[in-house]
Amino acid sequence: MTTTKPPGQPERQKHGRMWEQGRGRRRGEELMVPQATFSSYYGRPVVKKPVWEELDIAGYLFTGGIAAGTALLAAGADRTGRAELRRAMRLSSLAALSVSGVALVHDLGRPERFANMLRVFKPTSPMSVGSWLLSAFALPTAISAADELPQLIPGPLRPLVQRLAPAASVAAAAIGSGVATYTAVLICDTAVPSWHAAYPEMPFVFAGSALSGSAGLALVLAPVAETAPARKLAFFGAVLELASSQRLEHRLGLVGEPYREHPSGRKMKLAKALTLTGVVASTLLAKRSRAAALAAGAALVGASALTRFAIFEAGVVSTEDPAYTVAPQRIRVEERAHN
């Protein structure tokens, strides 16, 4: 007996959906995916949505970047004799690291077991690597900050802290480069479609966002006379961030959609506009007036936070619609079948 496969299934029975339907494709927008029907199981997601609280984890992506970027600025300020910038950056770094720690522990399902993070060292887990990285970052960050607050250190320890502080600042900056970028690996090493596919660009977006945000904080906190390097760094960071996120959004095609559309995409656009405003203001105006520096700096800090929240939300959006999981995989399967 032979059976013949019926041609074309009616939409309804396959619980499928047309790709281009209801997606609000705008005029002139390039068609990223060939028109095809994809099935799903009653429209249910395939991969699980991250259980992370947005405020905790998107917040940490931001504060971790600030902790790292301000450590870098503090080391530079120390080497070039900018005392007030150094003080502001060292204390900001410790503050941002502390907020990060609180957010990370708060997000655990079992916060009292946070120490289990250091139970093993596991290179296949970016979160394990990150836990050790943050622990290594904490010591020099604490020493550098202590150097700015001698009145809080017991007398006999003061000379030691003073002696160690310059090296600690350099160490914090070096380890900070890892802290600023590993978080990209952290979110990209998941099955979340819009995060995983973005792994080549994400560390550069995060590095740029950390630099511009931290430089922005320097503009807010330090006197104009000492912030010339921060203004440069804001420029470098913003260019890095904008260029890499532009590349990310356009390379990704379909799974790049959450970075371009949806509320997450709108947040992303707003973040970019704010980065651009901040960097133009900091480059052109911030050296002239303290008020302009304050405004430019605040814009850059806000933009850095907004970028992280937008990226976090884009990932979540991509898990909610099975199309983002199924379509790229289905296309891979078809391509393999043809080759």
Binding site: T3, L108, K122, G176, C188, A207
Partner: protein, 281 residues
């Protein structure tokens, strides 16, 4: 260090066991599933899995919805208009697909790879199990699973999933779901044997005219290095809510770290550039 992707002949040895029993798994033959949900019930009973409320989902007879922290077996129900048996033409909603889904116990398991505490581990049977006394509920495994299996219990804070009845198989018993399955749609045994049996079954079905029969998750060459729990399906995987070409996220981990290292270099380089140069002040 062990491989992050691709075929892996001996998962238990790779995980550090010098001597291990054969790798055990499930073969779920959905062509003989009758949708009785005995597997769901047996699993809950044996493993003490809490109920997740009385939900009417409006998805045929499926009121479980999907695998999760409190559903370690999930029976999917799909109603299609396709000719069945000797029928010539399709009739409205007459073809039923029923399939009992479960954790795949991947050769390269995303959940296991990313777990920072070592709570998730590879057993001597080659299965993947959560140690509940170690899990701190970081939630990283949840989005790391390409099949969306493992999840966190909100009230408990830890993650849960199928253990392939680690406590039973250690005593030579079969897992509760397989034991309860009245049609042997769920078969438990050494993975090598199951794979052979499954290929025979597909051949049998295809020669009987069920040309749409295909295996899912049986190939060591797939994106997770082959699943420890694989399936015989009668339609595309996505029809059952399964990803058509799942890939363990960690496959790209080395490349991810290389990109991150380059970005870290740029980060430091830009710092140097900002403070160096002409005006030192």
């Amino acid at each position: 260090m062990s491989r992050l992707s691709g075929p892996e002949h001996d998962v238990a040895r790779d995980a550090g066991y010098d001597e291990a029993p054969p790798r055990m798994g499930f073969f779920t033959d959905t062509s003989i599933c009758i949708g009785c949900k005995a597997c769901e019930v047996a699993c809950k009973e044996w493993n003490g899995v809490p109920d997740d409320g009385y939900n009417l989902l409006g998805m045929s007879f499926d009121n479980t919805g999907m695998l999760g922290a409190n559903s370690w077996r999930h029976v999917a129900f799909i109603e299609q208009s396709k000719p069945v048996g000797q029928q010539e033409s399709p009739r409205e909603g007459v073809r039923w697909l029923m399939a009992s889904d479960v954790c795949k116990h991947c050769t390269h398991a995303g959940c296991l790879d990313v777990c920072p505490t070592g709570s998730l581990f590879r057993t001597e049977f080659g299965t993947v199990v959560v140690q509940e006394d170690i899990c701190n509920g970081c939630g990283y495994c949840v989005p790391a699973c390409p099949y969306g299996v493992i999840d966190r219990r909100p009230d408990d804070g830890r993650v849960w999933k199928c253990t392939l009845c680690y406590d039973r198989i250690g005593d030579g018993l079969e897992p509760a779901c397989a034991k309860a399955c009245p049609t042997d749609s769920i078969q438990f045994g050494p993975l090598d044997e199951l794979r052979e049996r499954a290929h025979d079954r597909v051949d049998e079905l295809v020669s009987a005219g069920v040309t749409e029969a295909r295996l899912y998750g049986d190939s060591p060459d797939d994106g997770v290095g082959g699943a420890g729990a694989f399936f015989l399906l009668l339609d595309e995987p996505e029809v059952y809510g399964l990803p058509p070409d799942p890939v363990v996220p960690t496959r790209d981990l080395v490349s991810m770290w290389k990109h991150a290292a380059a970005a870290a270099g740029v980060f430091l380089g830009l710092g140097l550039a900002a403070f160096g140069g002409r005006n030192r002040r």
